[in-house]
């Protein structure tokens, strides 16, 4: 052991390295750590570990920690902490610490390395099972170690077994179905400040176990009486452990109040360490056995049928005296007998087994009257409990009393604390029952008992016990509080592990990405893809850049990276038949090396995805999907092939990443294409719209498609992904003489909207049929396909559905936010309930038209064309005209150049 300096509330103190901060503070004479959350009453330490309701601190050193019980902080040199009145601040500096995750599959997972857990490990190891033993304390031994008992070295030797993974400082925070446990291992906070930063500060373990053995032990309860929260009042096992194990020597005069024999054991421990124990106050009427005789022989005064009924404080609010009264087990008939001066009240209110983990999967603990405890018994297969948590409290000479404290009236009720963290009192509980509440879940929410960081670890059973008195119900009928993971507060950083920043989600980039970056393009997230949004020149803002890019595509030539489009390679003798069933239009009639736009619907007839599919051979198609819909479409295709039509011989493969697509768009794209591929006949007769040619482009093999998403003459050059950047560079180089302009997704959106091309997921939300989108032309009458039957359902076939329309504001400069509501011209300003008729789905400024325009989904839209409607935007109303959803080149005169 070595002495180290640390800081608490801006004071420099010293303590033993490795001891709990709570012990170090006590040894420095500090009994008051902080104030209570709501009533600002002085509070010290009550307990030993995670159950601590009061002694919260904020850690400012190292990675920092906004809220942690001082009982669980191990002292290291340079530690800086502050007392915390219940509400912490997130550190405002970046956390540079590393966090990671690990997975482990074991046959047996034992949670808790007290004596019961060690014994369970010993027997599992003998069976040659893969075993994992985790424990939240710095060292194994649990209660025995806290009690300074010597642990059988043979038992400790199991920790060295080769088939055992043993972790201390590791708290199981969640237990789920199928033997799945999440645990948090604290690996560096107990080391000196200069530890290797490569060591992860916290490791989150994901453990799957065939069998889980809960050896989680128990917490001691305190008792309820007026002023039971003063610094100097502690759980008896905690008080004895601080004094005996950690040599806290600030307490001189003690009183022990108890409902069981543990109080006597702790009185003896205190006495042996030089604390004068004046009295043991026992609510029971009679106890016998060696323990009692030993206590008597030491001259400790015994009060039976008695409890503490109030406490007094010195000028600092710290305990100075207790009031002892005779009571019956209902806490009534209080008959004051004596007042004793003391600086320590050790409270032994019985044991509360740590059942939390089991309750996470719906297990109901059992109330065992003789033990005055909720315990785990009759557990389902795969999970068992040993030791105290299972109700095995060892040999006890005298059974505990079922007693939780007294229920005083009036002002005294307001200082009789049940949940110390929440400052919830007897008065709150009585108000709850007075209001007619009897369910523990209602009472929890009404009083906030059990809702703090500690989830009522020490107060839960006390609440149930007092409630049982107030409403005359057995604890079993009331049941325990519902605990939820995590068992202790867990930093988000621990759960994130290394999946932070750019690793938080996979990023997909095209082979041309680097060029876009160097060109200074901002990126738009489309699914996991990064797509260039626009390519600003020197001082341009987005609007200027997009207007310039649009004009270039309409009047000269522009180029776009279309590599992100989903691509699914579909092969097999039944591929054509399959596509006929999937798409609303016919594909079996498509000629080889021809392409066709297709729409697919769900069985409900609603548009699901779209894209161009090319026939590369008799039995070979290449389907494109929307960028973000690719995975969903592949699942969909496989679902039909595998579950409905196994007789179809069709194979689908995702090839999105295999091909790079460079789209050159605009009236000069033919001349550019000629330059790029001099041997290719690019005349409209030899290479018409919606056909494909195979040729070399910039000396690499390419499939060139006459496909247009802008309405302009356009070519899509498809090459193997590794040639993507090479071909893009060639296009830029050869395009210089035509003023080639790269463009991004924003310009693509404007160009397609001018032509009224929908984007699935933007114009649609899963409630639009092809007919609603004015695409009746694509719905085949000759064949069955997925969704067809739904078009004749009464709701789908009716007039007046929400349909795609165009919107043109009367003010040509007015900009409407996408998502704006459309309302009748005479509608009141506020959009309330049902007065909205539809919404704007896309809205842009068109450089070509020199005005703003948009697309909308509008109730009875087809019949409203020509009507004027209003779009309310805050206090303004913008008048718009409803039009056909096409604004440019209605006759398709431009696509062939």
């Amino acid at each position: 052991m070595s002495l180290v300096n640390f800081e608490f509330d801006a004071k420099i103190l010293s303590g033993q390295k490795g001891e709990p901060l709570a012990a170090a503070l006590l040894k420095n004479g500090i009994k008051t750590f902080t104030e209570s959350t709501y009533l600002s009453r002085p509070r010290g330490v009550m307990a030993l570990g995670a159950e601590e309701p009061c002694a919260l601190v904020q850690i400012d050193s190292g990675a920092g920690e906004p809220m942690f019980p001082a009982t669980q902080v191990e002292l290291v040199a340079g530690l800086a902490a502050r007392g915390l009145a219940g509400i912490g601040d997130l550190p405002n500096v970046n956390d540079d610490a590393r966090y990671d995750k690990a997975n482990r599959h074991v046959e047996v997972l034992i949670i808790g390395a007290g004596l019961a857990g060690l014994r369970a490990a010993k027997s599992a190891i003998k069976k040659n099972q893969r075993v994992m033993l985790i424990d939240d304390a710095p060292t194994p031994g649990g209660f025995a170690s806290q009690s300074n008992q010597v642990i059988d070295p043979e038992l400790l030797a199991v920790l060295e077994a080769p088939n055992l993974v043993h972790l201390q400082r590791t708290t199981a925070v969640g237990l789920y179905d199928q033997g799945y446990v999440v645990a948090i291992e604290r690996r560096t906070d107990h080391l000196a400040a200069n530890y290797d930063p490569k060591i992860a500060r916290i490791r989150t373990w994901h453990i799957r176990a065939k069998e889980i053995i809960l050896a989680t032990g128990a917490f001691q309860r305190y008792l309820v009486f007026p002023n039971n929260d003063r610094p100097g009042i502690m759980l008896s096992h905690a008080a004895a452990t601080y004094v005996d194990k950690y040599q806290v020597n600030i307490f001189k005069n003690a009183v022990v109040v108890t409902v069981d024999d543990q109080g006597y054991l702790d009185a003896l421990r205190l006495h042996k360490n030089g604390v004068k124990v004046h009295a043991i106050v026992d609510v029971r009427s009679k106890v016998s056995g060696n323990l009692v005789n030993e206590v008597k022989s030491l001259g400790i005064e015994l009060f039976f049928n008695s409890t503490i009924t109030n406490s007094g404080a010195d000028q600092n609010g710290e305990l100075s005296s207790v009031e002892i009264s005779q009571v019956d087990l209902s806490g009534k008939n209080i008959d004051k007998t004596k007042e004793i001066s003391c600086d320590l009240l050790a409270v032994s209110g019985g044991w509360t087994p740590t059942v939390h983990l089991a309750t996470f999967i719906g297990i109901k603990p059992k109330w065992i009257k003789e033990k005055a405890a909720f315990v785990l018994q009759d557990l389902p297969k795969g999970i068992s409990a040993v030791g105290t948590v299972a109700g095995d409290f060892g040999k006890v000479a005298n059974p505990p009393a079922i007693f939780f404290g007294i229920l005083p009236e009036d002002e005294l009720a307001q200082v009789s604390f049940i949940d110390l963290q929440r400052d919830a009192t007897v008065r709150d509980l009585k108000r709850a029952t007075g209001a007619g509440l009897t369910s523990i879940e209602h009472i929890k929410r009404y009083t906030t008992i059990g809702t703090a960081h500690d989830q009522g670890k020490t107060s839960g059973t006390t609440t149930i016990g007092l409630l049982s008195q107030l409403i005359n119900k057995e604890p079993q009928e009331i049941g325990t509080l519902t605990f939820r993971p995590p068992y202790i507060p867990v930093p988000f950083a621990a759960l994130a592990g290394r999946d932070r920043g750019e690793l938080s989600d996979p990023i997909r980039t095209t082979p041309i990405h680097q060029w876009h970056q160097e060109a200074g393009a901002p990126f738009e997230d489309v699914g996991q893809w990064k797509r260039p949004w626009y390519f600003p020149l020197a001082d341009e803002d987005m609007d200027q850049a997009v207007a310039r890019e649009c004009l270039a595509a309409r009047n000269q030539v522009a180029v776009m990276d279309a590599s992100t489009l989903g691509k699914i390679d579909i092969q097999g003798p039944d591929a054509a038949e399959f596509l006929d069933r999937i798409y609303t239009n016919m594909f079996s009639t498509l000629k080889i090396n021809h392409s066709r736009y297709g729409l697919m619907c769900g069985v409900d007839g609603m548009v699901f995805d779209d894209g161009v599919t090319t026939r590369l051979g008799e039995n070979h198609f290449l389907m494109t999907t929307t960028t973000s819909g690719a995975a969903k479409v592949l699942d969909w295709l496989e679902e039909w092939l595998q579950t409905e039509w196994p007789e179809l011989k069709v194979y689908c493969t995702s090839v999105t990443e295999h091909w790079s697509t460079v789209a050159i768009v605009g009236p000069k794209s033919r001349e550019l294409m000629k330059k790029l591929s001099p041997d290719l006949d690019v005349s409209n007769d030899a290479f018409p719209f919606m056909t494909n040619q195979f040729a070399k482009v910039a000396e690499v093999p390419a499939r060139i498609a006459r496909i247009s998403f802008s309405g302009e003459l356009a070519y899509e050059i498809n090459v193997e992904a590794i040639y993507g950047l090479h071909v893009w560079n060639a296009v830029i180089e050869h395009g210089k003489e035509f003023g080639i302009t790269p463009y991004g997704t924003e310009t693509m959106h404007v160009l397609r909207a001018e032509k009224g091309f929908v984007i699935v997921g933007q114009e649609t939300d899963g409630t639009q049929t092809p007919q609603d989108l004015a695409m009746d032309w694509i719905v085949s009458k000759k064949k069955d396909f997925i969704g067809k039957r739904s078009f004749s359902r009464s709701d789908t076939a009716r007039e007046g559905r929400h349909q795609l329309v165009g919107v043109l504001p009367t003010d040509k400069k007015a900009l409407l936010p996408e998502g704006s509501y459309l309302v009748a011209k005479d509608s009141s300003q506020a959009v309330v309930g049902s007065n909205h008729l539809g919404h704007v789905t896309s809205f842009y400024y068109s450089a070509e038209l020199d005005r703003t325009f948009g697309l909308a989904i509008l109730e009875n839209g087809k019949n409203r064309i020509g009507e004027k409607l209003m779009v309310p935007i805050f206090d303004e109303k913008v008048e718009v005209e409803i039009t056909e959803p096409i604004f440019y080149d209605k006759e398709n005169l431009r696509r062939d150049g």
């Binding site: 496989e638 679902e639 196994p646 039957r789």
Partner: protein
């Protein structure tokens, strides 16, 4: 995180799978001849039992294959999983 037993790959984490609703709901042979009600039954209505239920799942991030399994909606227990077009195992007890 549940562990799901893919009949091809074995037990894998739930996040590798996608749920595909009730199993054994076949696409009707002649949709044209169905009443609106019968068609609506097919597209919208599914059982919602408390207890054992036959479901369809796909191992999206694995073998990409669809399969069926028994799952208990009340206890989260999984029963046996089985390949499509094979005899369904008996309802677990």
């Amino acid at each position: 995180m549940l562990s799901i037993d893919c009949p091809w790959c074995g037990a894998r984490d739930e996040t590798e799978f996608h749920y595909g609703s009730q199993a054994h709901v076949s696409y009707p042979e002649n949709p044209d001849q169905l009443s609106d009600e019968a068609w609506a039954e097919y597209i919208f209505y599914r059982d919602n039992p408390k207890g054992w239920y036959q479901e369809r799942w796909v191992h999206t991030a694995g073998c990409r294959r669809w399969f069926n399994l028994w799952r208990n909606t009340a206890t989260h227990q999984f029963g046996p999983s089985y390949k499509p077009f094979t005899q369904a195992p008996e309802r677990p007890q």
